[in-house]
């Protein structure tokens, strides 16, 4: 290729515009780091402003200037479709709300450093990469960028033992999960010869590695042997990749790290982890798994030789079904007995990952519009979950009085009598998390469970998905107990003494925004749902 040819090639394939939000956030992170190092003085509140401006610009770019026509860029590594847009917005919004929540909280825990802001921004970068990544390697890069920032954020309270423990646990277990994920990617590459998700889907599972071997004109026995081996490599790779993602979303049985890490980390980081990391991991999970395990009728002519591949979708569906049920049930049952609100919310976040997994399992079975509806329901749920969960963590932060005081359920006794507005906001979040109308949580759960019911109408899958919907609803009922327990304390128990609850402007703004969105999504879900459906439709290549 001559130089001008290369330039033309670059022009066509390096569309900077497609990754503009990412660049803006990364540049802001660098700027914050530079300001932190060069500017004297103690207070770092102005860095919140700088970071928020960066995130705001990126959010505007994502909402109004997202490339629609030309979707694939950087040699197909990045795909900026409506699906990516939806999750980019979630990542940016989660980052912004977290920074708003942290502005007054950081000085209280003596961690008012610029690094905190820079790391949140870098974690957001990772999440955006996971949303737009169209290549297993880019997804891995995103996961690592996000995770490494999160490891440090968990331990940002250098003098608190629990924070250090949280950081170290997350690092060690996260490194294991990353290794599994990378090994899975390597196996998939070995079997197919590509890591590009679009190529994996478009090839319909035709294993490139094998068709390459065919050219050597080997005898038939060898060809069949290699073909079978590649199938198992592919399946093993898919299993490992799923394991990596299951760790990141904290699904049972890979949830062990969640309670300790969530409780030890600074509360705003916990909120960020529970919504941001989960949403990004679900984005990657959906993009990978809904495409590459669906082989359609491709192998029906040679069903015996390709039986493992043909079965893969149903096996995976069953695995996700089981994981979803276990995740919901274990998360809810463990949350029942917690007395620390932060730890309770950690277990609740496990349960919510389970609800979202119900949608993923359903989407694997359905096709066409029904599948889009199921995927849209998961996306919608993650959006709703972001606002309600960050809001709840916001109230926990507001109640915090240094160390972990103010996190116990009895600290909320009689809150409604002296801080009625804070109590009301908490009530909205708790009702939403429990799934009671007219809040976002109710609508989200409604869409997910109705998707499960519609999958139950598929011939031969009735028992499978009806039972899934019933288990999900039963779990929601269990969760009502522990979500309403703090409300009982706030409204029906009188306070022994009034705690000092400061209404700082930025923190209050964050909680107010969350409350507004929880109610808005709950009352008028149509606009949000149609964006989610648009994203789900863009996901499949037709």
């Amino acid at each position: 290729m001559n130089p001008s040819g290369i330039q033309l090639f670059l022009k066509q394939n390096f569309d900077i515009q497609t990754v503009m939000p990412l660049i803006v956030v990364a540049a802001t992170a660098l700027l914050v780091l530079l300001l932190e190092a060069t500017i004297r003085g103690k207070s770092r509140t102005f860095l919140t402003a700088v970071s928020l401006v960066g995130l705001g610009v990126a959010l505007l770019l994502t909402l109004f200037n997202f490339p629609g026509a030309k979707q694939s860029s950087f040699y197909g590594m990045v795909r900026t479709d409506a699906f990516a847009q939806f999750f980019t917005v979630i990542a940016l919004a989660a980052g912004s709300l977290t920074l708003l929540l942290s502005a007054n909280y950081l000085p209280k825990i003596k961690s008012d450093t610029g690094e905190f802001h820079a790391l949140v921004l870098l974690a957001v970068c990772g999440m955006i990469l996971m949303a737009i990544g169209n290549d297993l390697i880019v997804l891995f890069l995103g996961i690592e960028t996000m995770s490494i920032a999160m490891y440090i954020l968990c331990g940002i309270r250098v003098d608190a033992e629990k924070s250090n423990e949280s950081s170290l646990k997350y690092l060690l277990l996260g490194a294991f999960a990353s290794a599994f994920l990378l090994f899975g990617i390597a196996l998939i590459y070995g079997a197919t010869g590509t890591t590009n998700i679009e190529a994996l889907i478009n090839s319909g599972g035709v294993l490139y590695g094998i068709s390459g071997i065919k050219e050597y004109q080997w005898d038939t026995g060898a060809y069949q042997f290699a073909e079978t081996a590649a199938q198992y490599f592919f399946i093993l790779g898919v299993a490992f990749v799923f394991l990596g993602f299951a760790f990141k979303i904290g699904a049972v049985p890979f949830h062990m790290w969640t309670p300790d890490v969530y409780q030890g980390a600074p509360t705003s980081v916990t909120g960020f982890m529970a919504v941001g990391v989960k949403a990004a991991a679900f984005a990657a999970l959906i993009r990978v798994f809904l495409g590459i395990v669906d082989f359609g009728d491709l192998y029906s002519s040679n069903a015996i030789a390709y039986q493992p591949l043909m079965d893969l979708k149903d096996v995976l569906l069953g695995v996700i079904w089981l994981v979803a049920v276990l995740t919901m049930t274990l998360g809810n049952l463990s949350a029942l007995i917690q007395t620390n609100l932060k730890r309770m919310l950690a277990f609740s976040s496990i349960a919510h990952a389970g609800y979202a997994l119900v949608g993923v399992s359903v989407a694997l079975r359905l096709s066409g519009d029904d599948r889009d509806a199921a995927v849209g329901a998961v996306m919608f749920y993650l959006l709703a979950y972001m606002f309600m969960n960050l809001g709840a963590f916001g109230v926990v932060i507001m109640m915090n009085r240094g160390n972990d005081e103010g996190e116990h359920l009895h600290d909320y006794n009689g809150l409604a009598s002296y801080r009625p507005l804070v109590a009301a906001a908490m009530a909205v979040f708790m009702f939403s998390l429990a799934g009671i109308p007219p809040t976002a949580g109710f609508v989200g759960k409604f869409y997910i469970f109705s998707a499960a019911v519609s999958a139950g109408t598929v011939e031969g899958y009735g028992l499978y998905f009806y039972s899934l919907a019933i288990i999900g609803v039963l779990n929601s009922i269990i969760s009502v107990y522990y979500y309403l327990y703090p409300l009982r304390n706030m409204y029906f128990v009188s306070a022994e003494r009034e705690h000092k609850v400061e209404l700082r402007p930025l923190m209050s703004a964050s909680i107010l925004i969350s409350t507004i969105f929880v109610l808005w999504i709950g009352v008028m879900p149509k606009g949000f749902l149609s964006r989610a459906l648009e994203g789900a439709k863009a996901l499949f290549f037709g």
């Binding site: 130089p3 290369i6 330039q7 670059l10 390096f14 660098l30 780091l33 530079l34 932190e36 190092a37 060069t38 080997w218 005898d219 026995g221 060898a222 042997f225 290699a226």
Partner: protein, 118 residues
């Protein structure tokens, strides 16, 4: 298909067998008189003093980490320098961005005092 792999199998068996055999032979045939002097850390060197698990300042780690971080840039710069003409202006800008990010890191490290020994 198996025919092609027989040489590899042979090589594997021979190399493993050779190594194992040598170790075994030296174990069987080698004379063993373990005197106190023979088992000391340095048979004909300076007497070791103190524990090997001695503490030393964390500064060494910081310097080592920073060295690796900034050393990695060479891996990216050499291919770029070799293909400089081909990559053209775009390549130049990309490398400038890369170096820019590294410089921000260097400024941060410097200002935070990580490069000072005391």
């Amino acid at each position: 298909m198996t025919g092609q792999y027989i040489p590899i199998l042979c090589a594997a068996v021979v190399s493993v067998g050779l190594a194992a055999g040598m170790l075994l032979l030296s174990r069987i045939l080698g004379p063993r008189n373990l005197t106190k002097r023979k088992t000391s850390t340095y048979e004909c060197g300076v007497e070791p003093t103190g524990s090997t698990r001695e503490r030393f300042p964390i500064k060494f780690y910081i310097i080592a980490m920073l060295f690796i971080l900034f050393d990695i840039e060479i891996i990216f710069m050499i291919p770029w320098a070799i293909e400089f003409r081909q990559l053209g202006f775009l390549g130049f800008i990309e490398m400038a961005v890369f170096i820019g990010v590294l410089v921000v890191g260097l400024v941060y490290v410097w200002k935070k005092g990580a490069l000072e020994w005391d």
